[in-house]
């Protein structure tokens, strides 16, 4: 399993982007957008609850970031992910719909591409199909207690400690059940997405 990049790795990746974009490398700009666009748009959708606005804000975020990276000394941006998140949330927190939709001033194919191909691998699986997959997942769990762990976690929003106490299981067992269930559900989602002819990323 791929480990989450820690800050040191993120700093190394960021330094590489900063250096190459600063040198005018257009491919680096495309790579930057490709690496961060899905996560950034997901984040903005969560914050704005408006998919179109999220796309606009993401485009504007990349425009600002690339413009800065083309000009900034290396030490000004230590972690590109943090910088993009901060910029995106600043834009989202203001009333920026009009601002975000104005014409971009940076000539970059990478920024234009930010609006394309941003659907996650599971976005196209229908709600009804997701419910069928959840039903299948629950039916596959042999012990009622493990089904209760999922229901209490995702439906009743109970804390882990409360669930463990109520069901008489320890933290390690809870983690194991949740981890396996999520892994299995992801497999089911991936299969469903691929059967719909979608390319599954990640």
């Amino acid at each position: 399993m791929v480990e989450t990049p820690d800050h040191a790795l993120e700093a190394q990746i960021s330094a590489d982007f900063v250096k190459r974009i600063g040198q005018g490398d257009r491919r680096a700009e495309e790579e930057l957008v490709r690496r961060y666009q899905r996560g950034l748009i997901y984040l903005l959708k969560r914050r704005t609850r408006d998919p179109q606005l999220a796309l606009d804000l993401a485009q504007e975020t990349f425009r600002i970031a690339i413009e800065k990276l083309r000009q900034s000394p290396i030490e000004q941006i230590e972690r590109v992910g943090a910088y993009l998140r901060g910029t995106a949330l600043n834009l989202a927190s203001a009333d920026v719909r009009k601002y975000a939709r104005r014409a971009t001033t940076v000539d970059s194919d990478a920024v234009d591409a930010a609006a394309d191909g941003v659907a996650g691998p599971f976005d196209q699986v229908s709600t009804a199909q997701v419910q069928r997959l959840v039903r299948k997942l629950l039916d596959e769990l042999p012990v009622q207690r493990d089904r209760d762990i999922l229901v209490r976690t995702y439906l009743q929003d109970e804390d882990k400690s409360a669930i463990c106490e109520a069901l008489g299981v320890d933290s390690a067992h809870y983690n194991r059940v949740l981890f396996r269930a999520k892994q299995r559900f992801r497999e089911l989602l991936t299969t469903a997405a691929s059967q719909r002819g979608l390319k599954v990323v990640g």
Binding site: Q144, D146, R186
Partner: protein
């Protein structure tokens, strides 16, 4: 924020319900913005959450233990059911013994059976005292198996005599009686000499691979009058 921290601290689930601290939220968002694998995990969990809520809204989700089952699993109900079982088994035992006596045509002493309900001492429960049974008397110890149903149980009874202890009975693969709520252990009278006894019951879920304590009860057998 690394993957281990995210898993151990339910970061994804807490993020989805908006329960992260501001610092955790910032760290987590910075992490997933540039990490497709982590973002996949997050989106899969989000869809799982949506799916469970959707099933529940559509009335297609069995909620954990309906209230009537909780009532059945309650210690109060277990005690009441134990009493009923004891009465019915006692009655059956009397009938059986009477039949036995009639069949044999003899006048030997009928076999007696005594039912003893024991409360767990975890949390400060009482110690149960009984008078020593006759040599051929059967004693059935009724131990509450707890609210959480396990797949299999084991139990052991140990006699305590000062600092010395002796295991007088043990058995694995026990099945609870009374709707899965009571472990019944039958002992011959000669096994329960006056003294102090401890009974421990452990339960195991099939997927956990290890036993965990379910009940620990104490019994003092007093000399016969």
């Amino acid at each position: 924020m690394n993957r281990q921290y995210i898993r151990d601290n339910d970061v994804i689930e807490r993020y989805l319900k908006g329960a992260l601290t501001a610092e955790e939220e910032e760290d987590f968002e910075e992490a997933y913005v540039g990490d497709a694998e982590l973002l996949d995990q997050l989106q899969a969990a989000e869809r799982l959450r949506e799916g469970i809520k959707g099933l529940d809204s559509a009335g297609n989700l069995e909620r954990s233990r309906p209230r009537w089952r909780q009532t059945l699993a309650s210690p109060r109900y277990a005690m009441a059911a134990t009493v009923l079982l004891a009465v019915s088994l006692g009655f059956s035992s009397v009938l059986y013994n009477e039949n036995q006596v009639l069949r044999e045509g003899g006048s030997s002493t009928p076999l007696l059976t005594r039912f003893v309900s024991l409360e767990s001492v975890r949390g400060g429960g009482n110690v149960t005292e009984i008078s020593a049974p006759a040599q051929d008397e059967l004693t059935v110890l009724m131990i509450d198996a707890g609210v959480v149903a396990h797949d299999t149980y084991r139990a052991a009874i140990t006699r305590r005599d000062g600092e010395q202890s002796e295991q007088i009975w043990s058995r694995a693969d026990l099945t609870p009686e009374l709707n899965g709520m009571t472990i019944a252990i039958t002992l011959q009278g000669r096994m329960l000499r006056p003294g102090t006894y401890e009974a421990k019951v452990d339960g195991r879920m099939n997927d956990s691979g290890r036993f965990e304590p379910v009940a620990e009860v104490r019994l003092v057998v007093l000399p016969r009058d």
